[in-house]
Point group: C2
Chain length 312, copies 2
Amino acid sequence: MTVAGVGEFGLIDRVTARLTYGESCLLGPGDDGAVVAAPDGRVVASTDVLVEGRHFRRDWSGARDVGHRAAAANLADITAMGATPTALLVALCMPAELETSWAEELADGLGAEAAKVGASVVGGDMSASPTLTIAVTALGDLADRAPVVRSGAQPGDVVALAGRTGWAAAGYTVLTRGFRTPRLLVEAFRRPEVPYAAGPHAARLGATSMIDVSDGLLADLGHVAKASGVAIDLHRDAFEVPRQMRDAAQALGVDPYTWILGGGDDHALAATFPRSVALPAEWRPVGRVTDGAGVTVDGAAYDGPAGWDHFR
Amino acid sequence: MTVAGVGEFGLIDRVTARLTYGESCLLGPGDDGAVVAAPDGRVVASTDVLVEGRHFRRDWSGARDVGHRAAAANLADITAMGATPTALLVALCMPAELETSWAEELADGLGAEAAKVGASVVGGDMSASPTLTIAVTALGDLADRAPVVRSGAQPGDVVALAGRTGWAAAGYTVLTRGFRTPRLLVEAFRRPEVPYAAGPHAARLGATSMIDVSDGLLADLGHVAKASGVAIDLHRDAFEVPRQMRDAAQALGVDPYTWILGGGDDHALAATFPRSVALPAEWRPVGRVTDGAGVTVDGAAYDGPAGWDHFR
């Protein structure tokens, strides 16, 4: 059965029947708008869009995988502000000949990823389109804390990383070369493992700045350095190359640090902390904030690919 | 200059430089998420997507028009819940060869329409895509009131309409036949005139149900009737056919009531009120709620086109 066959309202009924709603969802789908709890009188909101052929391929990722990744990309943005995600809204544009099962499994993936943080899909919109497109808006709750922005890094701060980088990029390279293994890398591309709890933890610990690593560590720390008017120096020794990644890099003729320092899509969180903060295990020190501008590795400019521009 | 030429971050800089921010915007673009005021501890959220070739055509509407309409469609959903809009987030997918001026003028239209209700564009995302697509999420504030949902209509209630219907549909028909006039109808399609204030007013007056007329009056009142478990009967005499519309209908060989009763995209608001409520001029009585199911016109089934399915 295709989405054109069941029609807009039929598909909305099928998809919403599969969703479950978290505590923050005060009014779910079925009206002109949803109502979501915003307990401290503010709401954090972020939008990310995934376009077929640009952010995902249906022959590389299942519908459920794409749902997990679309949700993860947005939930990570909310946690990078130090907030806890509460809700997702999803605009889904689909070719009329798409199987309804694809849309249903996408919804399952979105819902399952959101449920990891107690959030839920509370609303959305659907339209036919020649290009399969998933635009997700995530909402979140700051729990009376100030948002952790990109502009607060101070010279002397420690740069720390929660989660991993390079895995999704390695999986992407594996897929582009026509391989389906190592499975661990490919799965990292299909469904990122985001350290969601580390975002609000960092806010409580007193992080001075934070960002979701989606364009690549060097590029994203470049955004922090620019917004804060500081320089950031990373310590290459802080990044261990895992065995599977080293083996794949060798087999594919790639420097694994181009994945680790330049690859996005794992949705790690990078933050800066005053030196006085005792960092818990989930936050691994990887560099220092200094006076100046730009991002260096062991004091020198890094000459690998710097990051990802969605028009190039 | 094309969007690929200036690149993702260059275009984001150009667009955000044109935006202004309302009172509800506590933290605007430039971080992983925006922060928006939600004074009563809840936020209303709604998402609507516009796809080129399906919802708009670049040869029929300028970029600024498309921005106005994309914002209006979302802001209307918020007001139909009885809430006041506070913020918009916009996911914009564009062909790499699109002129940057198109994206900039789109942002101007979005911002100008949002400013009518004191809201502003607080964040978004951009990506290249073969299909020009604009997904907008609107947020709003209920000011301590309960949301007005679709399921509250009661037998005996008065059905009332704020704003106009059929104008945008008439303009759309004019454009599909290759004409550019009457200008009044074409402009109604390009930039709907939404009775934003009527939504919160209706909530304060005690409306029992409300909906944004986007699929067509009969179709949208059908959603209300179904959700409320009631029947709705419209009085045809309550709908005057304006002169320009009558003339265009005659010239094009169309029954103007197919526009008035079946056309969406003007974003009128339809609501039901207890008979005891004294309706202000902006809310025009057009029918009655009764026991039963479905929507009729003067007691009989209406045999014109019933509404709009976005996959058909």
